[in-house]
Symmetry: C2
Subunit: 570 residues, 2 copies
Amino acid sequence: MRILRVDMTRLGVQWEPAPDLYSRLGGRALTSRLLLEECPPGCDPLGPHNRLIFAPGLLGGASVTTAGRLSVGAKSPLTGGVKEANAGGTAGDALGRLGIKAIVIQGQPASRGLQILHVTQDRAELLPAEAWRGLGTCATADRLQAQYGRQCTVICIGQAGELLLGGAGIVCTGEGEQRSNCAARGGLGAVMGSQGLKALVIDPTDSQPARFADPQNFRAAVRRFAQALLDDPKVGPKGGTHRYGTAAITAAVDEMGSLPTRNFGTGSFEGAANLYGERMREVILARGGRIGTRCMPGCVIACRNQYVDESGDPIVGTLQYETIALLGANLGLADLDAVARLNALCNDFGLDTIETGAALGVAIEAGLAQFGDFEGIAGLLRQVGQGTVVGRLIGSGAVAAGRVLGVRRVPASLGQAMPGYDPRSLKGNGVTYATSPMGADHTAGNAFGARKEVDPLGIKGQKELSSRLQIVAAMLDSTGLCLFARPPVISDPQLMLDMINGIYGWGWTTEDLDRFSRNVLRSELEFNRRAGITAADYRIPEYMREEPLAPHGATFDVPDSDLDAVFEGL
Amino acid sequence: MRILRVDMTRLGVQWEPAPDLYSRLGGRALTSRLLLEECPPGCDPLGPHNRLIFAPGLLGGASVTTAGRLSVGAKSPLTGGVKEANAGGTAGDALGRLGIKAIVIQGQPASRGLQILHVTQDRAELLPAEAWRGLGTCATADRLQAQYGRQCTVICIGQAGELLLGGAGIVCTGEGEQRSNCAARGGLGAVMGSQGLKALVIDPTDSQPARFADPQNFRAAVRRFAQALLDDPKVGPKGGTHRYGTAAITAAVDEMGSLPTRNFGTGSFEGAANLYGERMREVILARGGRIGTRCMPGCVIACRNQYVDESGDPIVGTLQYETIALLGANLGLADLDAVARLNALCNDFGLDTIETGAALGVAIEAGLAQFGDFEGIAGLLRQVGQGTVVGRLIGSGAVAAGRVLGVRRVPASLGQAMPGYDPRSLKGNGVTYATSPMGADHTAGNAFGARKEVDPLGIKGQKELSSRLQIVAAMLDSTGLCLFARPPVISDPQLMLDMINGIYGWGWTTEDLDRFSRNVLRSELEFNRRAGITAADYRIPEYMREEPLAPHGATFDVPDSDLDAVFEGL
């Protein structure tokens, strides 16, 4: 396995054998550890000392179903701490097949000219790309695939990343024409923009077949894993995840009073039924859109969809729960067409829909538009692509918007906007938002699935739940596995071990895997500590601790001492 | 001595005897200690738990020359830490004469209606003032003095404070028609705005004569102090301070290569001669403006001026060095008329000229205007008063502007913009900017005056110098004394003791006063520590440590270990 190091100051590339230190790391475990080793924690996230790291998970490139996710890591311009965001699509698989453990981008060009990195089995080169400046991610991906072949994965930024906006993500192509795979969170697109890198084109055509330490056991485990997913009542072909995608949970979150509505002003939305996953499916099918598409080949869950307009023309794919919550209910929009159109704009600009939805909610509270007014809201969002000051403010995320517009009610932790679960009525997620080294992030440890075990409105058990979930998330994010594929891995820990040991022959035990997962969090917390992040930063905003949320009248009342103790036993 | 506590939630006022804990504190010592005792360090600076404290210094109200400054303290929305900013004018004297040790504003009204606080010897009341919304500080002060009498001191915010902007200061009236006395830094005006307080009207008419513990010694010391100031070659009537005000140093700062020019891009300015204090004096006198005016009655230094236009009509008074540096050279403007007009806009909006000049420099670097183009720059600044998004961004200060506009070169420490000395070529000030609990602030410990003792370009001696100066600044800020009055107090430590002991009879020794001054810093550093500010935050921006500054090619190379050691012996 090798590392591709790209120096944007000298515009040079270098292949390196992966050092021992990194040899048993992948995905988030690798991006976070590499940051701790190489990135000065106090550095300017948009300066020359940051590192932007693309890494497949440990299972990447081995054709394990759902395991082709790409981890992207850097010091975050939003949180000021470590960041890993991962994306579906074909990037993780392509890098894995090329035997690339990580691509590390470092330095900044003296001039502001853009570059594209083209990577094949034998060669990596930087190509001048100033002409691509200002292109959205859709056109960028389309043209690069037209030029280099549709077998290539394109990883790119849009206008948001070029403008160094805190809400900018990094977008990857997926199976077929799938576009909306985004390593969305934490402003990683701004880091890529600051490095002058418009896109990576990964061509796995001439990759060598993977060699496995124990092919037989590996293949058996992979089959067992795929079958377990197919048999799972939730994620299998008859389950809600396949039928409705992530939007399957919209009704449940609304019913539990945790659906962010009008800038997290209430926890249920009178128009929520129009946003349900069931409704989304009906609309898509009635209009001739697609349900059950995949971001990566071989995925047996196939949670995705292509949302189309009344004429059957595609608007966006895939429409997902977090986007529906943040760009729908949170903006007072009870209309999936409206959400889909805002989503498409975000995708094309290369913007995190969560951060942007939260920023728009804050902007509306400041009077820049009206809740429920699609045209007014879309008018604000379109300005991101135009690069106006208003657009740049929206694209800079919720905290920046709140600061400039004088809005106190900013739903964010550690500088990053909250996803689609109000922490007052799903307190386990509040604990995760507050204590995750990543800032407010549901994928860091989502308590929604455990709502029947731990009372979402109670304090008891939340810190233990969040701690456990965060350790599992660190493991999944390091293997490249989709979060949806969690159930069989949790219920049968041997499954993951058999796959990893089958590939690498490390002979890992459950204890080894547990230690591995905990070490991910340890590295990250240590990076943040060195970056100056303290217990005072790992908090839920003051107003959410004091202003009750309808319909339950709940505040976020998990005591600070519980937050401080989440990682005590790590 | 008493404390006036104003509860903006219930719209009530209460007189309290000053508790023992605060009895020997004044000015900055009192505001900072009160914050440490009463303000939760992790609170939202613009939320209901912050405290806004107005306190005269220990000498306030005793008719000591230059000693009527008003300290204003709160948790800063810019730095996230403790803040004290002080202002000349008549406020400190008025409060001192009324026997008011501090006015503490707390809470926030449920509705957003504005209030005015009217304070006399016997009475304090809140009066509805929604009709005053949107008024600049000049009109606010004029109308309130017309209504309540010209003997009243008005302390107020302008549009910037109402909009909760990070660059908003608090403006006080002074002797006669003096207007531009501003507790400018750290966004304290936004805190006042968040509390719904538009203005305080302080009427000292019926105040009781001060009683002194040792009137004879006190009066002798006061006379000795005034005479020492009159005899001082710098601040006395023939000195540069009286003749040119703070602008006396413009030439010297330019010559030493530390004058912030074009967003701190170089340290000397080809048009600097047009901005010299000598030039300012010539222009003012030739046009029939005024030189040698005072902000407070009885000041023997009289450093101020009234800058007038070609017809002799007043533009602004007083035009000062920091403003000339930040709104002049830093914006590429070699024209005092231009600086004066920008200054007048800032004063009327209630904006810190340092923070705003730095924000404008960042905005120009982002392409929103051109260096040297007065009309373009004024067009941006005027938008603050109009409350546009562009205006709010400029008014939010340099860090917010840099973040939204994608500019890395933001001259700020701990969230607050640097004043008129580039830290690369006046490294003692760099140490102060980095390590002061107040963020980048020259008044926290200005090494300019020691440039002949400690090489401004060298590393050696800077940390000791900054430490010493910061302790002295804490003392001065706690007595209400003007920084200009420093020389006699430094050369004869007994002078301050005689004045304080003369008033209070505490029998303080030099050791007591030294401990008192160090305790101010200790309280502040402790508040910041609890607020989550760490060594990683007490730093100079990365680009200034790496990009050399012309003409000396200097970087800020004082090692982190020196910064971390500044308060080691505190």
